[in-house]
Amino acid sequence: MNSDKFLDRAHDIQDTYGYIPEGEIDKMAKEFDVPRAKVYGSIRFYSMFYTEPTGKYIIRVCDSLSCHINDSKSIVDSIKNYLGIDDGETTENKKFTLEVVECLGHCGEGPVMMVNDEMYTHVSKNMALDIIKDCT
């Protein structure tokens, strides 16, 4: 399996649908001539791909070592509480998906979170909830 080509295809599909639907995995399996389980597994290997529809806003909170030390856990907990979803879940109105992730590349400014492509640093609990409330 040519992995560059594979990743390009997966990105294209995700850009179109917001996730990678079952039928598209079937097509990729035929295109790359590998079992569909293998395509599915390769997609699941990367945390940036989704095999199910996500919310309009994807909230990523970093929980790597340096953010963890700055109490990223309390931020995760308050978001969970506020939205009523767990890590990896999407709210019923399909507005938010929460993901606890590894390093977002701003270790000196933790805790950090991202909403879609927007990065927020030195996040506090209140700030996190305000950011979410501002999403329309």
Partner: protein
């Protein structure tokens, strides 16, 4: 050749040998977990690490080639320490606690982890077990997967993809949260799994096993109102002795019959009988297709793993598949019609049990097209459990004979248990029926053996019949692709499992190449030593056609002994 030293032993091995293989030659056993002969090297578990002089890090012996002058230590203090630590971590992920009690595990008798623990000398477990809390996958009629026992060695993944060419399993996620799963987490029963059970043979733990039906059989045996008959597949007789400590290749036909009688079966019959019947029907079908320019090549239909494979993967070839039911199903159909009528047994009170080397037979038995025929299909492993549960000392029993009529068979039926056997049995009969003359030599050696793909040709009445044999579904795929590219044959035997039924997914563990070879030899020995070696000469086969079925391929036969298939898609 490469000279090296392993644990002080000087040895010489061929270039390209791994340290693991070289150690085996020097009679040194290195523990392995993710390694399996026949599969690609994964190098993930690291249990097989060794120390190499001049190298800073320990190296996995399964993935490291020998080099001239190498000095290797396989059990040095450092190696043993590291191995022990690694093993403790693996064991923690296997969640050994009261939930996953070894006593109740499918692999309580032959767990690789327990063997390794003993070899390494594990004396304590410092890492607390991880309760992964996954659901058991019970979506399949044949295979159960218990993910909490999975140590993510990847052997099932590679077996299914590399040997079977199917690819049901995959890993998802990474690092410690890596899991083994199926396409879209659908479960084994909801994807294109063939039920062949080869993944069970690959798994070092109890994470994969067959769907058990032996408790239902116990219930039937204890039910006074039921008349319970059993049939035994050809390959079971050369493997049933293994779980009782006998050498692989031990033939225990008579002892198995005796044990089945002691278990309480009312009649002990032989699937071999309907193997002979299959030859009559399939042979007739072949002759008809050749004479009437029907669809050729004809594909055999005895192996239900193969059938499900073609239904999913190559539906465009389904009209090549013989319409004959498999011997298991033919037996059920004959028992519930002919036998029941002859003995005045109400069909509802008759229970047909089969002992099969196969997990796919469980699915076959519940196929809509023929779910009346067989009530319970047990693996050879399940039968060995029942014999143990009943305290029967099978290896010391006197041989007994199968019950009459449905228990009489030819050597041609015995070799059904081995790759190439159905082909050979069919050729013995087709040749003599077409030409009306006797074969000089009835051994067709070029279709025998463990090789995955075999070809040959026979001249029958000036016509050259081209035949091929494929075992292991990966090889089936290769052969079908060859056909797509224009290769022509008249008759092809397909068996889902490597080596044929002797290597079936329901056979006792372990199932190494060496063991398969011994079972295969044993099967051909049985045939060689039988007087009756051709299906059409079986007197009971003649009798059942005279008394009941009429002609091979006739109306009654079609009603009882033939079936159809369906496209399943992927």
């Amino acid at each position: 050749m490469v000279k090296l030293e392993i644990d002080g032993q000087k040895i010489e091995v061929e270039e390209g040998t791994t340290i693991l293989e070289a150690s085996k030659k020097a009679h040194i056993k290195i523990p392995t977990l993710c390694y399996e002969e026949n599969l690609s090297i994964f190098g993930g578990c690291r249990l097989c690490v060794v120390e190499i002089e001049g190298e800073d890090n320990l190296k996995p012996s399964c993935a490291t080639m020998v080099q001239e002058g190498m000095v290797v230590q396989t059990h040095s203090p450092t190696v043993r320490e590291v191995r022990k630590n690694l093993f403790e971590l693996i064991i923690a992920s296997h969640d050994i606690d009261c939930n996953l009690n070894c006593l109740t595990c499918s692999r309580s008798q032959n767990c690789d982890l327990r063997e390794i623990a003993a070899d390494i000398g594990v004396t304590e477990i410092r890492v607390p077990p991880l309760d992964k809390g996954y659901d058991v996958d019970e979506s399949s009629f044949s295979i159960v997967r218990e993910p909490n026992k999975c140590i993510t060695c990847g052997r099932c993944i590679r077996k299914c993809e590399e040997i079977q060419g199917v690819g049901i399993f995959t890993t998802a996620n990474r690092g410690p949260s890596t899991i083994v799963t199926t396409f879209e987490d659908k479960g084994i029963g909801n994807v294109e799994c063939t039920n062949c059970g080869q993944c069970i043979l690959a798994c070092p733990t109890g994470a994969l096993h067959e769907v058990y039906h032996y408790e239902n059989v116990w219930d039937a045996l204890h039910d006074k109102d039921k008349h319970v008959v059993v049939q035994t597949a050809p390959a079971t007789r050369v493997a049933i002795a293994e779980p009782f400590g006998a050498e692989p290749g031990t033939v225990a036909t008579g002892q198995m019959v005796a044990a089945l009688r002691r278990l309480g079966f009312d009649k002990v019959f032989d699937t071999n009988f309907t193997a002979d019947l299959t030859i009559m029907e399939e042979g007739t079908e072949l002759i008809e297709r050749i004479n009437n320019e029907g669809t050729l090549p004809l594909f055999t239909s005895c192996s239900p793993g193969w059938i499900k494979f073609i239904e999913h993967q190559y539906p465009e070839y389904l009209d090549h598949v013989s319409s004959c039911k498999s011997p298991q199903q033919m037996f059920g159909a004959v028992a519930k019609s002919y036998y029941a009528e002859q003995h005045n047994i109400d069909k509802d009170d008759l229970v047909v049990v089969s002992i099969m080397p196969c997990t796919a037979k469980k699915f076959e038995a519940v196929r809509d097209e023929m779910k009346e025929d067989v009530d319970y299909s047990l693996t050879t492993r399940e039968l060995s459990r029942m014999i143990k549960q009943a305290g029967i000392d099978i290896m010391n029993l006197e041989d007994e004979d199968y019950d009459q009529l449905l228990g009489v068979s030819s050597g041609a039926a015995d070799i059904f248990g081995s790759s190439g056997g159905v082909m050979e049995a069919a050729l013995r009969t087709a040749y003599e029926i077409i030409t009306g003359t006797e074969l000089d030599n009835i051994d067709f050696n070029n279709v025998r053996g463990l090789e995955g793909l075999k070809e040959g040709s026979v001249v029958i009445n000036d016509m050259e019949i081209k035949v091929a044999v494929a075992n292991g579904l990966g090889n089936a795929r290769i052969l079908l692709e060859k056909m797509k590219n224009g290769e022509e044959y008249h008759f092809i035997e397909f068996m889902a499992c490597p080596g044929g039924c002797i290597g079936g997914g329901g056979q006792p563990l372990p199932a190494s190449n060496e063991i398969l070879e011994k079972r295969m030899e044993a099967i051909y020995d049985i045939d060689k030593n039988k007087k009756l070696r051709k299906s059409h000469e079986n007197p009971m086969i003649k009798k059942i056609y005279e008394e009941y079925l009429g002609e091979p391929g006739g109306h009654k036969s079609h009603e009882l002994l033939h079936t159809h298939y369906k496209e399943r898609g992927i």
